[in-house]
Amino acid sequence: MSKVGIAAYGKIPFTKDDHKIESTLHKSANDLFQKNPEIDKKEIDAVLISTNNNSKYLSPILSEMSGIQPKIAHSIESLCNSGTNSIVSAFSYISSGLADMVLVSGAERYDSPGQILEWDNSRGEFKHPIFWASIFSKSYKEKYNISDEELAIVSVKNHKQASKNPNALSKKTYTVEDVMNSKKLTDDLKLLDCSRPCTGSASILLASEEIMKKYTDSPIWITGIGQKTTSAGFTKNTSLSSMESTKIAGQSALNMSNHNISEIDVAEVHDAFSVCEPMILESLGFTDPGNGMDMIKNLHQTNNFKINPRGGLIGCGHPLGATGISQTIEIIEQLQNNAESRQTDNPKTGLIHNMSAAATSSTVLVLEK
């Protein structure tokens, strides 16, 4: 399989603003081309759009607005992990030889229809994500004797890290008391335990090894990919305190990259709700089951940004189709030592975890210098 790298990226601040999806998409793609004027748009073979928005023909639209005439142009939707799934598709086009350079742009509006999976009638009238998050939280807390105050540290840590990220939706820092006193949504979930829908976009340009040599002296390579779908419906989850799809996708990605989890220096993980972060860390193997909060507390106390340096979904906001791409850009910046005040200690290998619909599917990427 030929190597695939990331040649360039573009990003914009996440907001609550009411912008058209086409305009939102164009902003991050334009940022990419403004920062990398040497890129020859004629060499872009494919334009892939990651979004849950219902607007039509978005890839040809972005292509026209950006002055690109690609061979391949289409959208990819898979709820919250549309972004990394689009990156996997771009990787596949390049590694198969169908394309040499692929632009992947993800965007979402604050009012995305992807926030609710209408099909999942097994959830009855409890289709909003706060209900599966409450069930996960209750189950996880009981199984491992974790308190609400301990879980609140996830939100405190990730808001702290987001405050160093100029593109994050949240600029505020919070205490455990603030999280505990935020609006009670259910007995097991407070408002500040939740990521928030928002408007945003992010773009990256993937390229073959040959093309990468032309455009960058500090290439970042995608060396591991793992994906797993266990179901579509939340109630089919066999465990309510761990994530089966994440376990399988994580192990596949690590196997492909010939690494083990202890060699991952920095990671972006899909903290849609506070409880997700310890569950993900345990399911990926960073810690033993039940010890995720110990790791998070230690990272927070030592001001170590190893997990979710960008601020996570809780701090950054969650524009569904853009999230996986934004997570990937953060790991690129970390590996290139360009993450400014969020920079971790000279990382060489990074991981991205992006999931959908109560972890019924997960995608994991490994990136390396």
Binding site: N121, G124, E125, F126, F131, I135, T186, G233, T235
Partner: protein, 102 residues
Amino acid sequence: MSFEKELEQGRFYIPECLACKKLVWPPSEFCDGCNEETSLRKEVFEGKIIEFSRQNEEYFCMVEFGDSIRIMAKMIALPKKDQIVKISKCGISEGNYFFQVI
């Protein structure tokens, strides 16, 4: 297969494969195992509370029927884990299923 027609009338019947007898969930005209047609098994199923939480004064529970079929249902009284329950109300409202257990 008329799962939704029955549900609209307040009856919760689970589809069963005519060939292999597997209970099929979510409701479907075809078995996800052997691909044969299903029909509704017209019996009152007992379920078990797997997990629950509360929003305002109402509890919402994950309830398991027949070892593998799980739904989210409302419950008014305080649930207990592993409590055996039955569907007391169900139907379709604005396109969404709803279930209540006692």
